[in-house]
Structure formats: structure tokens, C-alpha cells
């Protein structure tokens, strides 16, 4: 079942409350307001639906911290991009809702994960990466001034010309040849 403390509606600006009476405890001004009961489910077209407050709306989950805290604070947004609900933690949802949300997050947060680099060549204005990803073989191109940037989880991310994101796991988890190829670009 849904824990009422786990799902929070839009943290509106009124959360920045005026000063409290002296005897009251001093909560953080950034505490999130209490949530309504809500339920999430996927339909046959794998769309995520949120039922709460007597309404049922189609929502898109957006991780607030996709790399530093991927399992926490997921913003559920309607088709016009407005926040319907802020889920503080997936672990606090009822099992079916958590499964539905986790499944939807797989799609929105999906990035290709490089597990081996065969070679990296330079061409005019771009760098060509011949790689093996967890999802299959992929050759992609990055701009010459597009360097992989460090992700909080210890890996790196790099964006190709088409806009696809590739995650490079921490170097010590990769084979020697891949590490040699990545040496100039990562670390």
C-alpha cells in the first residue's frame, strides 16, 4: 500500500513558510508537503497512468537526480509538462506502482552502456567510436570538443552527434585494451 509520507505533490513555493512561533519545532523550510494517496500503472501501450485525488492522468516520470540518486525523487509530469506528483522514493510505493514506475523509468532513463571499445579514430570535426555496448555493437560519433564528463556514480557519460548518451563504466571494470583507448579521453 501507498505510504502517504512517501509521495509528495508539487513542492510549491508556499513550502517556504513564514517564521514559526518560538515554541514550534524548526523544520527545514525545504520540507516537502504531505502527499495524497496515489497509484501508478502501465497500460497495454506501456504508458504510465497516475490515479490520485479522484483523477487519472497520463504521466511521464522524470528522475530529478538521474545519476547521483537515481532511485529517489521522481517527478511525474503530465502531457503539458506540469508536475502532478513528486515521488520521494520508489521503495515507498506499493509494489505494483513501484514496478510500473521502475518499468517506465527504464525507458526514459535508458542510455547505451559501453562495455568494450574497439577503437577511437579521429576524422574531420569528429571522433568515431567503435564500441560494444551492453545493448549490442554500436559505432557512434562525437564532436572533437565533446569530452566524456564524470557521472556521480564513478562512470563517465558522452553524448554523440545524434544526441544519444553513452555511459562509460568506471575504468577499472573495463578490459586493458579498452582502458588504453579511453586513457586520452577519460580521467
Amino acid at each position: 500500500m501507498l505510504d502517504e509520507n512517501s509521495i509528495r505533490p508539487d513542492p510549491a513555493l508556499d513550502a517556504l513558510t513564514p517564521p514559526l512561533a518560538p515554541e514550534a519545532p524548526a523544520p527545514s523550510t525545504l520540507d516537502l508537503p504531505a502527499p495524497p494517496v496515489a497509484r501508478l500503472e502501465l497500460d497495454a501501450a506501456l504508458r504510465l497512468w497516475l490515479a490520485h485525488g479522484g483523477r487519472r492522468v497520463r504521466v511521464k516520470p522524470v528522475r530529478c537526480f538521474p545519476w547521483s540518486s537515481p532511485g529517489e525523487l521522481v517527478s511525474l509530469r503530465d502531457e503539458r509538462g506540469r508536475e502532478e506528483l513528486l515521488v520521494e522514493s520508489l521503495g515507498e510505493l506499493d509494489a505494483a506502482s513501484a514496478r510500473a514506475l521502475a518499468s517506465a523509468l527504464l525507458d526514459t532513463g535508458f542510455v547505451l552502456e559501453v562495455c568494450r571499445v574497439h577503437s577511437i579514430e579521429e576524422d574531420y570535426e569528429m571522433r568515431i567510436w567503435h564500441t560494444e555496448t551492453r545493448q549490442g555493437k554500436r559505432t557512434f560519433q562525437t564532436k572533437l570538443d565533446e569530452w566524456p564528463w564524470a557521472a556521480p556514480d564513478g562512470g563517465h557519460l558522452v553524448r554523440d552527434l545524434a544526441g544519444d548518451l553513452f555511459r562509460l563504466p568506471p575504468l577499472d571494470t573495463l578490459d586493458e585494451k579498452t582502458r588504453r583507448w579511453l586513457w586520452a579521453y577519460v580521467g
Binding site: 501501450a45 535508458f110 576524422d123 574531420y124 569528429m126 545493448q135 559505432t139 560519433q141 545524434a162 579521453y185
Partner: protein, 751 residues
């Protein structure tokens, strides 16, 4: 000059991606079998399966059907008439297309960003919004997938050699200088080969016979002095040739670089606004400055050095082997090894420099973050943390540069040691022969051996140039490619052969079913039709991203329409010569751009022949005259780069004066008062009201109160003309977007 050897989109896909360049024939057959239609209107690769693994499935659009290939079976297909809705969800690297059908489960396809444009093209066609339906499906698919690569390198030559050959063609106008330079370089090489030979001759032909008592010194003194004289002449000739070569080639390189810079800059002036929105300003500036400079370096020295080193190396090997085949081979044998070692080391150093420059860029990032943001750093008391961040970046960069120093400082002594070992070997083989032994070959004269040693000392330079050759050529072709890429880009807005050079316009503007798309897939303006009479003021309002700026960009002909037509005084503006037409269209933008120069130069930018009195009159209309007179040098005051010495309001009024002076019949005001205080806004508004009199005006403003004087207001929403009317008319309509926006602004203002 143009490159005719560029890759088309299909070739780009083949070269740079691992996905098919067109729809496979067996999929075509399967789709035809499932739908009964053989014509394919569009298709896209669906490259993610349900488990988010990379796969190869196809989404195919035929005239009556849309089909999605299912693994190991016939495609899942739907009649286009049964489709109720298409929706697209975008993720980081996984997008989802859902095609909702009457009476069936939705069709779901997942794909990466690379396939996005091609899939969205199909979605747009299904929604009936595709601008260019009926285009060649193969070409459209290849163009959509190759577009990011094409934008990264607009034109890709098939081979670096073509680029180099094209670059060398720029030398043709200077062939006389080039010939002289190359001739001088050949003389330098020949002159370098003569002194060792003369030295050997002097030893064997003069010194040894005299020391051995075979001839009297007086008999050969003349020959000795003749040798010294010849060497003097050779050295003088060599220096003279070196001077000619350096001078001629340096100057020639400058001329070629000048020609390229000039051609490049003039071409940049012709290119469309769309091109500038794709390319970074810094990159374009680098192409005109650094790349042409690098080409000067290559043309002035690289071309000659490379050809000379070939001649020198061949000449040296020939001379050494002729002097003494055994010793010659001994000296020549390590050369290929040294060459490959230098080449390998060059590649290794490239990677090391790449890493070091990346680290260096991290360091400059810290600087460019914190120096402009020093107030925030201080306000949040983060200077200690920032100092630590800089220290870490500084240490990392230093470590990498030290690594580079460690490599080159040990590599070159290693190469020299190899050469020196060869010399020791040569000595070891030569000494017994010099002493008269015949075990290792016939006796060797001292003169020949000294000549030999002098020649061996000349080996290093051509070897080094050879080792760096790939790098030198690579750098030059890269720069040449960057320059030719711009030169080969064609403007999107091109004058027709019989373009009308319009002298005068009235200012009647008519949009006839105008549609426009920046990427030929997603429409930004959809079927806009309206008519504006000369002298009318039209206020353009609506949410951000609705298409207001696109609309005015079409009127200025920064872009040409994708569908329909825009007519001015009854003539399609595509029939006008763009330059002549734009003289009649003035713009005042939110962020006015002033050039480095005086206030006078900036006001008469569009009309350089304007008299001072006309400039003052324009400034008066623009409410600029008073503040200009207060500047220390009046109208002759330099405004600095982008006018940074003036306030935003002052810059805006100068830009209005500029528009007043150019006296356009059509005027575009794009958020001209949005970034100034109330008093300045009042002055600017007054100026603009005067400027607008008697002209056709299109004014965009988020502050709706500034548009109350407009003859009519056009509400542009989602690319469509949603509402038309005067302020009062639109306010009367309770459900209108305009009224809602106006009331929201009023509430904000009152609040």
C-alpha cells in the same frame, strides 16, 4: 573552385554508422505481402527492442498503411485511416512512438536519438503535418539519419588527397614564385651535398699526398685553395638560396592565406542565417583566422620541407652507397626503423597531447567559471573550495604535460643513440680498412671516410621531417577541410536567375497558406494566411515557441517558406533579389547589436552616405540625440565592442536611429523594449511610435500593453494564426488566448 568528390548521405551512413543505408529488399517484400502495397513513402529503423537491446526492425509507411516489422514474422500493420493518434515520448537515449489504432492494441516502437528524425517524419506524415510528403523515401531516410554527421562536417571529401590537391590549386596564381622557391630549395639540397665531397677530395687529393711526401705542397696548394674557394661559393650560394626560399615561400604562403581568408569571409557574408544557427561563432572565427594561418605554415614551409626531405634522403643514400656500399648500407639499414619509431612516437604524443589539452581545458573551465562569477564565489564564501578545484585541475594538467616531457626527453636521446651506435658500427667496420686490412672489404681512404661521416650527420633532418609527415599533412588537410566546408556550403536563400532588384515597395504583405519547418519534418508554422495593408501595425502575440519570431524571419527572408508563399505588393518575395529586398525591411531587436566604431558609424551603418544632418535628424526621432550629445566625443564617441560602453536603452535607441535612417517600408520590432527600465521604455516607445509612422510594422512583445496602438493583433499559437482582431475585439471574447494572457499580465502588474 568546388569539391565535386563529396560523400552523399548514403555514403555517409555506410562510412560512419553500422546501420543499413536503405530499407532491405526482404523487408520491402514482407511489407508488400502484408499490406498489398509496393510503394514505400517513408521508413525508419527501429533500433531498440522491448528489452532495450539494439536490434534492426523497420517502420514502413505506404500510401495506405503503416507497418512495423516484428521479429521473425510478418509486419504488424495498420491502415492509416484507422489511426487515431500518434504520440512520441522522448527519453535520454530511448524514444517511444505509439500509434493508437481503432479497435486494436497500440503499435509501440522504441528507438534511439539517431533514428528520431526519421521516425518523427513518419509520425508527422501520419498526423498529416509532413511538409514534403512524397519525397524519395530512400533519400529522406538517409538524409534524416546522416543529418547530425552532415552538420558536424557539412561536406566530407572522399579522400584527404582531393583536399590537398584542391589546396595546392590555390598556389597556381603564384606558380612563378613557387617555381623559384622550389628551385632555391633544390639548390640548398645540392649545396648541402657538395662540402662533404670537397672535404674528402681535399684530404685524399691534397693533404694525404703532401703528408705522405708524394707531391710537393706547392704543386697542390692551388687545388686546395680552389676547393676552399668552391666551398665558400657553395656556402654563399646555399645561404642565398635559403634566403630566396624563405622569403618567397613565406610571402607566397601569406598570399594564399590572404586569398583563402578573403574568399572565406566573402562567402560567409552570403550564407543563410540557418547556417549560423548550426555553427558556433568561435568555430567560424577560428576557420578564418587560425586555420588559414595553419595553411600558410604548410604552404610556406611544409610543402617545400616535405619535397626537400625526399630529395635529400634519396640523394644521401645514393651518395653513401656509391662512396662505400658496405658502410652505406650499414648506415642506411637502421633508417626505416628510425622512421617508424618517430612515426609511432608521434602518434603516441598526439594521444598524450590530447589528454593534456583536455586537462588544460578543465583548468580554463575553472577560470572561466569563477572569474566572471567571483561575486557569487565570495557571497557564498566558496573561495577555499574554488582554490582547491583550481589546484586539482592545475596539478592534473601539470602531471600530463610532465608525462609528455618525460616521453620526448627520453625518445630523442634514444634516436640519437641509435644513430651514434650506427656511427660506432661504421667506425668498427671502417677502422680495419683504414688501417689497411682487407678482411672487411678493400682499403678505405681517409678522405672518403671523412666525407662519409659528414654525410651521415645530415641524415637526421629528412628522417625527422618524414616521421612528422603524416602529422603535418593531416593538420593541413584538417584545416583545409574546415575552410572548404564553408566555401562549399550553399546559401539556403538563393536569388533566382531573373531576380527582381526591387527599387521601391509599398509594404502590402500577404501570407498565402504559408508553412515552414526548420528541419523539414516538424512544422513551426502551419498554413498561415493573412493580409496586411501598407501602413498597418500588426502586434504578434502568443506563447513562447509559438512561431512569432519565425514569422518575422520569413518576412525578412532569412529563410524561405516550406509551403505557400509570402507576397509583398503582390509579388512572391522569392522573386526578389534578397539583398535589394532587405533594404526595404528594417529590424529593431531585443538585444541591439552595435559594431566597434563610433556612434556615427553605427547610426549610418545601413546608409553610409548619410550626411551628419541626416544622422542627427534620425537620432532625434529615436530619442538618442540628447544622450549622444552628453557623450565626451558626441557622435564620434567610440562605443566599444558590441557597444559595451553604452547602457541597454542607449544601444536600443541607436539601433532605432539606424532603422530610421535606412527608412524601411516594412519594420520588424522584436521585443525591442523588454530589457529596459520604465523610463527608458517610455523613451524607446516614443521613438518607435515615430519610427512606425507610415510603415508596415510587425511588432512582437510579451508586454501586451505596448501593443495597444496596433491596428490588429495576431495571436500565434502552435504555429497557427489562432486569433485576429484589435485589442478591444479580442478582449471582448471571454475565451480568447489574448484575453487570458492580458489579464494574467495585468494581475502580475497589479500584484
Amino acid at each position: 573552385m568546388s569539391t565535386v568528390t563529396t560523400l552523399d548521405d548514403v555514403e555517409l551512413l555506410k562510412r560512419y554508422t553500422d546501420q543499413p543505408a536503405r530499407l532491405p529488399d526482404d523487408v520491402r517484400r514482407l511489407v508488400a505481402l502484408a499490406t498489398g502495397e509496393t510503394q514505400v513513402d517513408a521508413y525508419a529503423l527501429i533500433d531498440l527492442d522491448a528489452e532495450l537491446r539494439l536490434c534492426e526492425r523497420w517502420l514502413v509507411l505506404t500510401p495506405g498503411w503503416v507497418a512495423l516489422q516484428v521479429p521473425g514474422g510478418l509486419p504488424l500493420e495498420a491502415r492509416r485511416s484507422s489511426i487515431e493518434r500518434c504520440s512520441l515520448d522522448r527519453g535520454l537515449s530511448c524514444n517511444t512512438l505509439r500509434v493508437e489504432r481503432r479497435g486494436s492494441e497500440p503499435m509501440v516502437a522504441r528507438y534511439t536519438q539517431r533514428q528520431r528524425s526519421a521516425v518523427e517524419r513518419i509520425a508527422a506524415a501520419l498526423e498529416g503535418e509532413l511538409q514534403s510528403a512524397g519525397a524519395d523515401a530512400d533519400a529522406a531516410y538517409a538524409a534524416e539519419v546522416a543529418r547530425p554527421i552532415r552538420h558536424a562536417q557539412a561536406l566530407v571529401s572522399k579522400s584527404g588527397l582531393f583536399i590537398l590537391a584542391r589546396l595546392l590549386r590555390y598556389l597556381l596564381p603564384y606558380r612563378r614564385e613557387l617555381g623559384l622557391g622550389l628551385g632555391a630549395a633544390a639548390i640548398i639540397t645540392l649545396c648541402a651535398l657538395l662540402p662533404p665531397y670537397l672535404t674528402g677530395y681535399l684530404i685524399d687529393g691534397v693533404l694525404r699526398p703532401v703528408q705522405d711526401g708524394a707531391v710537393a705542397s706547392g704543386d697542390v696548394a692551388l687545388i686546395g685553395w680552389a676547393c676552399i674557394g668552391a666551398m665558400t661559393v657553395v656556402y654563399l650560394l646555399r645561404r642565398a638560396a635559403a634566403w630566396v626560399r624563405l622569403r618567397l615561400m613565406a610571402v607566397l604562403g601569406e598570399y594564399v592565406a590572404r586569398d583563402l581568408r578573403g574568399e572565406l569571409y566573402e562567402h560567409l557574408q552570403e550564407l543563410s542565417i540557418a547556417f549560423y544557427s548550426r555553427k558556433k561563432t568561435g568555430s567560424l572565427i577560428t576557420r578564418v583566422s587560425s586555420d588559414t594561418d595553419r595553411l600558410w605554415d604548410f604552404l610556406a614551409f611544409g610543402v617545400v620541407d616535405l619535397s626537400l626531405s625526399v630529395v635529400m634522403l634519396v640523394g644521401l643514400c645514393a651518395v653513401l652507397i656509391r662512396l662505400d656500399p658496405v658502410l652505406g648500407l650499414l648506415m642506411a639499414l637502421p633508417l626505416p626503423g628510425i622512421y617508424f619509431a618517430i612515426r609511432h612516437n608521434g602518434k603516441r604524443m598526439d594521444r598524450m597531447f590530447q589528454r593534456a589539452f583536455r586537462r588544460w581545458s578543465n583548468l580554463t573551465d575553472v577560470l572561466s567559471d569563477t572569474i566572471p562569477g567571483i561575486r557569487v564565489v565570495r557571497a557564498f564564501n566558496q573561495h577555499v573550495r574554488e582554490a582547491g578545484r583550481f589546484r586539482a585541475a592545475n596539478e592534473a594538467a601539470t602531471a600530463d604535460f610532465n608525462l609528455i616531457h618525460g616521453v620526448w626527453t627520453s625518445f630523442w636521446p634514444g634516436v640519437m643513440l641509435t644513430v651514434e651506435i650506427s656511427i660506432i658500427l661504421v667506425w668498427s667496420f671502417a677502422l680495419p680498412r683504414l688501417l689497411g686490412g682487407e678482411l672487411l672489404g678493400p682499403p678505405l681512404s681517409l678522405g672518403v671516410f671523412v666525407s662519409f661521416l659528414l654525410y651521415t650527420g645530415m641524415f637526421m633532418w629528412p628522417i625527422e621531417v618524414f616521421g612528422q609527415m603524416a602529422r603535418i599533412v593531416n593538420r593541413a588537410t584538417t584545416s583545409a577541410h574546415r575552410v572548404f566546408e564553408i566555401l562549399d556550403t550553399r546559401p539556403d536563400v538563393v536569388d533566382a536567375g531573373d531576380a527582381i532588384v526591387v527599387e521601391r515597395i509599398e509594404g502590402n504583405v500577404r501570407f498565402d497558406d504559408v508553412s515552414f519547418s526548420y528541419d523539414e519534418v516538424r512544422p513551426t508554422l502551419k498554413h498561415l494566411s493573412f493580409e496586411v495593408r501598407a501602413g498597418e501595425m500588426i502586434g504578434l502575440v502568443g506563447p513562447s515557441g509559438g512561431g512569432k519570431s519565425t514569422l518575422v524571419n520569413l518576412i525578412t527572408r532569412f529563410y524561405d517558406v516550406s509551403g505557400g508563399s509570402i507576397q509583398v505588393d503582390g509579388v512572391d518575395i522569392r522573386r526578389f533579389a534578397a539583398g535589394a529586398y532587405r533594404r526595404h525591411v528594417g529590424m529593431v531587436l531585443q538585444d541591439p547589436y552595435l559594431f566597434h566604431g563610433s556612434v556615427l558609424d553605427n547610426i549610418r551603418y545601413g546608409v553610409p552616405e548619410a550626411t551628419p544632418a541626416e544622422v542627427v535628424a534620425a537620432a532625434r526621432v529615436a530619442n538618442a540625440h540628447d544622450f549622444v550629445c552628453k557623450l565626451p566625443h558626441g557622435y564620434d564617441t567610440l562605443v566599444g565592442e558590441r557597444g559595451h560602453t553604452l547602457s541597454g536603452g542607449e544601444r536600443q535607441r541607436i539601433s532605432i536611429a539606424r532603422a530610421v535612417l535606412s527608412n524601411p517600408r516594412i519594420l520588424i520590432l522584436d521585443e525591442a523594449t523588454s530589457a529596459v527600465d520604465t523610463e527608458t521604455e517610455r523613451k524607446i516607445q516614443e521613438a518607435m511610435d515615430r519610427l512606425a509612422q507610415g510603415r508596415t510594422v510587425f511588432a512582437i512583445a510579451h508586454r501586451l500593453s505596448t501593443l495597444r496602438r496596433a491596428s490588429r493583433l495576431f495571436v500565434i499559437e502552435d504555429g497557427r494564426l489562432a486569433e485576429v482582431g484589435t485589442h478591444l475585439e479580442l478582449m471582448k471574447n471571454e475565451g480568447s488566448t489574448y484575453r487570458r494572457l492580458y489579464e494574467l499580465q495585468q494581475q502580475l502588474h497589479d500584484g
